[in-house]
């Protein structure tokens, strides 16, 4: 969808859902990975099958770097939100690249991404052909990650939670990435006009129209996925806590109160009314860029108030529910990147997590300093030792 004058959230929210439900879900897995001049790796290759991959090695060996490389198989700035050139190998002779063969429900696809000299944007190739934008990746791969930095997700600002939710949405609706990019671009254009002074009212209205149409579509997708995840969490069994989720924000409440077209009108009107204020703040007073993902436990207690371990368990519960839902609705599980996942989980939950990953039949990439923590996985996983920028399959 090129995003013409029509409302951008027509089209099936879950393409292929009906067919997928008839077949057993396929696994999404990386069968071949090649890193070139990527952070601590000069040139590293890894072949894998569909089983979970355990990466173990000392601190600083490059385990998280490898997960970061995998996270670039999805649109966005990766799990460290790094600037493009930051991923170049120090002292390396050129820009970085990550190439992977990904096995999915539609057969294998070769994905390549990286920095190119003279290009500001991350370059993407699908089966050897240059893609117009990173959004093309979302058509093929969905990647969800949990890192130690996300331990504070529920206590931090809404931005990180929003991005977390967006990644979950990409898995159901690849066009979401494109819409967010279009929305952000319109918002930047509007901010630029407002900053430059009076601004042409008709030009502002044209940008606000774009923000309203795409903004409501973004909020609707987030709201829908949050509701589905909430329902999926409610039916989950096992030692992980039941997470309650809701996408919250002005646009989301417009959608709760009336039809989408009405919500668009309200966003348009709201933006038009806030021009003066927005000129001062440099932002936009309302829109999905201000939304939040609210998470609470079974008793309705906000997640931020739980212990560190409970917060981690809630996150794991959400990620597992998401993977299950994806398998059901899209016929493919996402790639799961679980960095230092064992850290805050007790032995019972650790075992339950391993069982859940095996039951999902998902290719999860797990890291830890000690291979022994993952011993319960045994032959159901492939173990790779990471040392000094080299990968040694065990």
């Amino acid at each position: 969808m090129a995003g013409g004058g029509e409302t951008p959230y027509i089209g099936a929210m879950f393409p292929g859902a009906a067919e997928a439900a008839l077949e057993s879900p396929a696994r999404l897995s990386v069968s071949r990975l090649a890193l070139t001049r990527f952070r601590s790796y000069d040139s590293a290759r890894l072949e894998a099958d569909g089983r979970p991959v355990v990466l173990f090695g000392e601190n600083g060996a490059g385990k998280t770097n490898l997960l970061e490389a995998l996270s670039f198989l999805a649109p966005g700035r990766g799990l460290r939100r790094a600037r493009l050139a930051e991923c170049d190998r120090v002292g390396g002779a050129g820009p970085w690249g990550v190439a992977a063969t990904v096995e999915g429900p539609r057969g294998p696809v070769r994905l390549g991404t990286g920095r190119e000299e003279g290009e500001e944007r991350r370059q993407v190739r699908v089966d050897g052909a240059a893609a117009k934008s990173q959004a093309a990746l979302a058509e093929h791969v969905n990647v969800v990650w949990l890192t130690p930095q996300m331990d504070g997700l529920f206590r931090e600002g809404a931005g990180n939670r929003r991005r977390f939710l967006d990644r979950l949405v990409f898995g159901f609706d690849p066009e979401h990435a494109q819409r967010v990019a279009i929305y952000d671009n319109a918002m930047r254009e509007r901010a630029r006009l407002l900053k430059e002074g009076a601004g042409d009212p008709a030009w502002l209205a044209a940008l606000e129209d774009r923000m309203a149409r795409y903004g409501v579509a973004i909020a609707a997708a987030r709201r829908d996925v949050a509701q589905r995840l909430d329902a999926a969490c409610a039916t989950a069994a096992g030692p992980f806590p039941r997470a309650r989720l809701a996408a919250a924000g002005t646009v989301e409440s417009f959608l709760a109160e009336g039809p989408a077209l009405e919500a668009e009108d309200r966003v348009r009107a709201g933006l038009a009314a806030s021009r003066r204020q927005d000129a001062e703040t440099g932002g936009a007073a309302l829109g999905p860029h201000r939304s939040d993902l609210l998470v609470s436990d079974a008793r309705g207690l906000p997640a931020a108030q739980g212990s560190t371990g409970e917060q981690k368990a809630l996150l794991v519960a959400i990620v597992l529910a998401h993977a299950r839902l994806q398998a059901q609705l899209r016929g493919a599980t996402p790639l799961l990147l679980l960095d230092e996942i064992a850290a805050h989980l007790d032995a019972t939950r650790r075992a339950a997590l391993f069982d859940a990953l095996l039951a999902l039949d998902a290719q999860a990439w797990l890291t830890g300093t000690d291979a022994a923590l993952f011993a319960p996985l045994g032959g159901a996983a492939q173990f790779v030792r990471v040392a000094d920028g080299t990968l040694i399959p065990q």
Partner: protein, 193 residues
């Protein structure tokens, strides 16, 4: 820089060409000096000397106003707004538009510093005051549609009726191959048979 390097460098700047294809083009020209290089040089010199943007509509022609604006048989009450001269040519190839044009020369972009004045919008508004209908034929891209929205709003004061090209099923197209956005637009814009 040698003459040859300069030639290669300039050719590489053409759309679709890079350094490698620039070198190839330069060699091809030099190998066919009489049949290609010299006629091309003469044609380029003539184009640089004679071709101007029409001060009325922005079309490229050897006369100003251009041959379309000067053609008395073309309806001055019907204007078609296009992004680029290439789009004007595309519509001319259909031989089904008998009005005149207005070439914007791009789309609005605050970040690139392209505003209404760069797109000759004030001139369009002035021309539209004397027109009956303005057809907005901008690309169905996000930037094209934002610009279309803006143009339509600005033309509101002129009294001309503002229309836009239909979005829908291409002639000879099969529904099964259409994207959902286009098909939904086509459904919305259905007409009695």
């Amino acid at each position: 820089m040698s003459d040859l390097e300069r030639l290669v460098q300039l050719l590489s700047k053409l759309p679709g060409l890079g350094p490698r294809s620039g070198r190839r083009a330069a060699l091809a020209l030099l190998k066919r000096r009489e049949t290609l290089l010299e006629p091309l040089a003469a044609a380029l010199a003539a184009a640089a000397r004679n071709i101007r943007a029409c001060s009325e509509c922005g079309n490229l022609d050897t006369t100003d106003p251009c041959s379309i604006c000067a053609d008395a048989r073309r309806d001055p009450g019907l204007l078609c707004v296009v992004e680029d001269v290439a789009d004007l040519w595309a519509i001319e190839r259909t031989k089904s538009f008998a009005g005149r044009y207005h070439v914007l020369g791009g789309t609005l972009s605050a970040i690139d510093g392209v505003g209404p004045d760069e797109l000759r919008i004030p001139k369009l508004v002035e021309r539209a005051r004397g027109a009956r209908e303005v057809v907005i034929a901008l690309n169905a891209t996000v930037e094209g549609q934002t610009t279309a929205h803006y143009v339509a709003e600005r033309l509101g004061e002129t009294g001309a009726s503002v229309t836009r090209l239909a979005h829908g099923v291409p002639v000879g197209g099969e529904l099964d191959y259409l994207d959902e956005g286009t098909l939904a637009a086509a459904l919305k814009a259905r007409r009695p048979l």
